[in-house]
Amino acid sequence: MTIGGRVILEDINLHVHCGELTAIVGPNGAGKTTLFRAMLGELPHTGERHFMQRDWATEFRAPRIGYVPQRLDLDREAPVTTLDLFAAATSRRPVWTGVGARARAEAQRSLAVVAADHLVDRPLGRLSGGELQRVLLALALQPLPDLLLLDEPVAGIDPAGIDAFYRMVSDLRRRHDLSILLISHDLPAAARVADRMIHLNRRVLHDGPPANVLADPDVRRAFGTAPAAEPRPEAAP
């Protein structure tokens, strides 16, 4: 695909399997976020998307994609609460008329999955980075997607929050057999949760188990990472 006459991504061919967590790594400007936006259909591209369903009996439908954006840059004064966000995304009733009891209960149920039900009435601008990511994750899971896209979900979150977030994601994946694509700059953390790692820089440079990709001399040169086998020191409590 090209933007403004410049080739951003070419020859990308990904097979994503059910229940697989794939980490996408690459330098800034490698086209990681662009790939997501193309998959969502927001940017024009020449690619194709094939969705193979497990159950041949069900009728064909487009895959449902859940998306957790890179970072919701909100001004802190925005008069929009977590509940407003949920209701705006999932219900028909315009949120300026208020939010009904059923939509509220539904939002709370969704938020409880990521331990964020207490944040339901909090304005979005008053959520911490980690809280906002959990809220956005809960929203991406409502309704349950076939494919979940996480774009730098832990950027700017403290180490304990990162661990909690990834534990939550792993747990959800097991429970719902979700396919997940994860963009991350934190290679060791991504390697710990992912089944598969893709090194992307305008095209797929490496694709395989995280340990193999991280061990590759090119990748180590590009990122300056320690060998994958070395355990990361635990975050201070």
């Binding site: 403004g4 609460t81 407003d84 315009p94 300026w96 929203l139």
Partner: protein
Amino acid sequence: MIAWHELIGRLPFEWAHYAFMRNALLAVLLLAPLYAALGGMVVNRRMAFFSEAIGHSALTGVAIGTLAGLADPLGAMLPFAALLAGGISWIRRHSSVPSDSVIGLVMAFTMSLGVVILSRGGSFARYAAYLVGDILTLAPRDLALLAALLPAVGILWAGWYNRFLLAGLNPPLAVSRGLRVGALDTAFSVVVALVVTLSIRWVGLLVVNALLILPAAAARNLARRASAYLVWALAISGASGVLGLVTSYYANTAAGATIVLFAMAFFALTLAARRP
């Protein structure tokens, strides 16, 4: 309409005896909810500069109407504003030039073009009313137009408010939920352009944007949820409209600018009362 004039005519105020003031009051009360609803979303989406530019570009709309020999330039102003809004929305999405540069450029061009055309032969003074507005020139036909616009925006707000909100918060997130962000942006831009352009003759293009932005900005100081946001904006927009209009009658000043001063006072008050 007759009932309105009877009702207001009974008020024990001097201004209430005049039909033009009763018309103006009705117009202010019809415009207030339009400004409150649209202004809230304009502030959320950070489009204040866009609506300012649409207001200033109206001079070119007036010029086109004059060149075309229209008795009422509004027939040219509205289509021109709608086209311009759609164009800016398109450029914003398809160009890598920062959107404020695009808007600034378009504003400078359309304002200059309008002034050049309207000032041919040194007669620009005739068009000064577009700058500061004259709410007393309101005709019953204008009121009918406003009365039709209010339910139209109401229907739009009932059906599409959630989409506008989501698309404004994060476009890719809105796309992932099946919304057509580009079309939404264009639709919203065009509606704002129409309301701004329609009200220019009464409130003046110099201050029309303040009427859109100030009540919403003041409401933000008080509201924490979307529903309260609209209620506060409505209250502040309506109160400053009525207070400004009546004050302008006694002080013999331009109504639009007087209303803006009241809206500004409300903004200052809410800023002081803001919850930490």
